[in-house]
């Protein structure tokens, strides 16, 4: 056969392929979201964040962007005087995407499935969960104030009983949200469409598509070209690019995530407050903020970022870098500078390993910058880049010395649940290591049953104590940067990243 004929056949085949596989997207009715977040399954304990963000699944309680909690599928709740029994009444007229009505039995079934999995739900001192008439009753073994923020977590969103197979795995996710799943292609794509029988106000935008984009530059180009309407997690280089685009604006907002140094507080070099203070004073946080992550004003001198309401203490003074004072504090601990510029004490060099993980790309860069900054006071640091699981693993086998981590203080809307787990329940795989404070434990115990002004006072004291004692050394706060297309009206941002709130948005005509 003539080569020309073969090429003609190949060319024709490719053309036919393009024509037959063409799928039109109705841009006018579709909002496209891009972000780096991957999801692998329909299991809420693993990937529930994707289904609550896309408003497919809803929980009993909803977190507002300011961190306050409001009724969602539960219309209201009553707590017994001893704080051990919570009764939730359910909203009426709610149906799942499969057409079944929401009732107490369905809620209990869904919560029981969630409780069989690991996750934040395991922090609950749960005694019993059951349906009583049209109410859901939660019985606890001791009072637990952050119960509502746990129930608002994505892993406890309520699904229809038909969503599960015989082994209790979610195989056909059916929630109650304003959107229902239209196309599911993990780990990259989730398309949802408006659910006409939604109990609340119907969404204005008919379809929402989510696409995972691994590369920041590719995501920025999607925003710039107009292919995507909302792009989450922009990198600094892309911000410059997008500022010049006239079809896009950038929303920047603090989120409850903090980069911090986790220390082994029982390590012979690190087991006192002065040394921890010295390490903290040696950090040039402004430099890291301006020149490494390139987000101005992100330097952190306390653990809780501004997004966490009254846990963040605005009056806490910014402590400038002070190498002289750091050196003095170390000297008081018996450390002397050796001939090669590294501190020595009784023949031992001040040498530590610092573990970090590549899951968040900025951490490795920050770790090497911190390595250079600590070298200036004579602390020699060896950076080890591992997997994120190395942090809890090394915490438990005791090999962790220093670790640079990006901790999410907003996994639950109330940081109290996290602190209680860290300090009272033996959790703390990502919290302070080998450190305890009777004063803090007492404060947290009191916080579990306080409210109003007393609650504010106790919160303040707890936050101050952590900022002063430095069992974890705060480094930087995170800011989420979102590119928003000009056609999107009423853009909403949820710092807890539980909900993209697209149902409240609309398109400009």
């Amino acid at each position: 056969m003539q080569i020309k004929n073969i090429l003609a056949v190949v060319g024709f085949a490719l053309l036919a392929w393009l024509l037959l596989d063409y799928q039109a997207v109705d841009q006018q009715q579709t909002l496209t979201i891009g972000g780096p977040f991957e999801f692998t399954s329909q299991d809420l304990s693993k990937d529930g964040f994707m289904y609550t963000r896309m408003q497919v699944a809803e929980a009993l309680v909803d977190v507002r962007p300011d961190g306050s909690l409001i009724p969602k599928l539960a219309s209201d709740w009553l707590v017994s005087d001893n704080g051990l029994e919570w009764r939730f009444s359910l909203r009426s007229g709610v149906s799942f995407h499969d057409g079944r009505p929401l009732n107490a039995d369905a809620v209990v079934y869904s919560l029981q499935k969630a409780m069989a999995k690991p996750g934040v739900v395991q922090q609950l001192p749960l005694e019993r969960l059951y349906a009583d008439a049209e109410q859901v009753v939660v019985e606890l073994s001791r009072p637990y104030k952050p119960l509502l923020s746990i129930l608002a977590h994505y892993s406890l969103a309520i699904l229809s009983p038909s969503s599960y197979d015989e082994q209790g795995q979610v195989v056909a996710l059916s929630g109650t949200g304003p959107y229902q799943v239209a196309l599911l292609a993990p780990p990259h794509k989730l398309n949802v469409r408006r659910f006409p029988e939604y109990w609340g106000e119907a969404a204005s935008i008919e379809q929402v598509h989510y696409l995972t984009g691994h590369r920041a530059e590719s995501r920025a180009l999607q925003a710039q070209s107009g292919q995507a309407d909302l792009i989450y997690t922009l990198d600094p280089a892309s911000l410059d690019l997008l500022e010049r685009a006239d079809n896009v604006w950038v929303h920047s907002q603090s989120i409850p995530r903090t980069v911090l140094l986790k220390l082994n507080n029982a390590h012979p070099y690190l087991n006192n407050k002065q040394t921890r203070q010295a390490l903290s004073l040696a950090l040039d946080r402004e430099g890291l903020s301006e020149h490494v992550v390139r987000v101005p004003d992100s330097a952190a001198y306390q653990l809780f970022p501004p997004a966490l309401g009254h846990w963040h203490l605005s009056e806490l003074a910014e402590k400038q870098r002070n190498l002289a004072l750091a050196g003095e504090l170390l000297k008081q601990q018996g450390w002397q500078l050796g001939s090669d510029g590294v501190l020595e004490r009784e023949g031992e060099r001040f040498r530590l390993n610092l573990v970090t993980y590549a899951d968040r790309p900025e951490l490795t860069v920050l770790a090497t910058a911190i390595q250079a900054q600590l070298a200036e006071i004579g602390v020699e640091v060896e950076v080890v880049v591992d997997n994120s699981s190395a942090i809890p693993a090394r915490h438990h086998d005791g090999t962790l010395e220093l670790a640079l981590i990006a901790r999410n203080y907003g996994t639950l809307s109330d940081p109290l649940a996290l602190l209680v787990d860290d300090h009272l329940q033996g959790g703390g795989d990502w919290g302070p290591m080998n450190w305890s404070s009777p004063s803090l434990s007492e404060l947290l115990e009191s916080l579990m049953s306080s409210d109003g002004e007393q609650d504010r006072q106790l919160t303040r004291q707890a936050a101050l104590l952590l900022a002063d004692e430095l069992p974890l050394i705060p480094v930087l706060f995170y800011t989420q940067q979102v590119a928003v297309n000009q056609r999107v009206q009423n853009f909403q941002f949820d710092p807890f990243e539980l909900n993209y709130r697209v149902a409240e948005m609309s398109f400009a005509n």
Binding site: L7, Q169, Q227, Y357
Partner: protein, 315 residues
């Protein structure tokens, strides 16, 4: 001869399936780090991986069992053509592979065919007109394209076709509009090499004594080219394209990630980070078999093109 080729490749396929699976299993077990923690990090993400999650994973998957027992389980499943379930997503490995490897194959096939459309006419023309302006220009462009990582070619195409002219989407999948730019990036990179290969083969064949003889015995240029030059040019080119296709399937991670295209390269990297052994074994096994299949196709093409092989078979 044909039966010999098929028999040899079948035996190779069985060996590859066993060897690749076994090797990946034991190599993964040699890697440092606690499997349960790694899998928990893959499943629940870095905000939620902790000892409780790792313990739950260990209990659920029976990771405390001996390595040999786990290996025997895998081997028994393999004999039943069952690749098992992913330890991270919980979905059957076959389903994950169908999605991810399916998309990789789609992209690789489209890109390979597109590269032929570019490389063959260009290579043949340049080979017939050695030293012409077009030959020199094609050399220059080839060097330029090969000197770039394929990622840069992709980025330039995005800037032109998606940003400047807004003709095609930047990234994504699901519909042919998303296929064009990643496929064109790969095709250009492949054609840069294969067009020069075709050009050299053409030049060599046209200068050979058997081609000269074909012309002397009175065949027209067209006849001589079709019957004597074409098959001889095609033989090395087919083998070369086979090798290119293999490297394409395993090595397009950069293009997949730039264009948010679900592919096996990305899936495999994540599976290794998350110690998702069944997924790695399944992917390595299917890719190993795929390479055997590509080799088989190359063999069959050469058999069809080369009369010497067919005659040998008849004798």
């Amino acid at each position: 001869m044909l039966i010999k080729i098929l028999g040899r490749r079948l035996a190779q396929a069985v060996f590859v399936a066993w060897a690749v699976g076994t090797l990946t299993f034991f190599l993964m077990n040699l890697l440092p780090g606690d499997f349960a923690y790694r899998i928990a990090a893959g499943r629940y993400g870095y905000d939620y991986v902790n000892q409780a999650a790792a313990d739950a994973v260990r209990a659920e998957l029976g990771l405390d069992r001996s390595v040999w027992l786990q290996y025997l389980d895998w081997f028994r499943d393999l004999l039943r053509f069952n690749l098992g379930d992913s330890l991270v997503s919980g979905n059957p490995v076959s389903q994950e592979l169908a999605h991810q490897l399916g998309h990789s194959l789609q992209l690789a096939l489209f890109a390979s065919l597109l590269s032929l459309l570019i490389a063959v006419p260009l290579g043949l023309y340049a080979g017939r007109q050695v030293g012409s302006a077009l030959d020199r220009a094609s050399l220059f462009i080839s060097v330029l394209l090969r000197a770039q990582p394929v990622f840069v070619i992709g980025l330039v195409l995005v800037l032109i076709f998606a940003l400047q002219f807004q003709l095609l989407p930047v990234a994504g999948f699901g519909g042919s509009r998303y296929l064009i730019l990643p496929a064109l990036s790969l095709a250009l990179s492949m054609a840069a090499l294969s067009s020069r290969m075709i050009r050299n083969a053409t030049h060599q064949v046209l200068g050979s004594s058997y081609y000269q003889f074909a012309r002397f015995k009175g065949l027209s240029e067209q006849q001589a080219f079709t019957h004597h030059a074409q098959p001889n040019i095609a033989l090395p080119v087919v083998a070369f394209i086979g090798i290119q296709a293999v490297s394409l399937i395993e090595g397009i991670v950069m293009i997949e990630s730039l264009f948010s295209w679900p592919g096996i390269g990305h899936a495999l990297a994540h599976a290794i980070f998350g110690r998702d052994v069944p997924m790695i074994q399944g992917a390595a096994l299917v890719m190993g078999l795929l390479f055997v299949l590509i080799n088989l196709l190359v063999d069959l093409c050469c058999y069809w093109l080369d009369p010497r092989q067919r005659e040998e078979g008849l004798q």
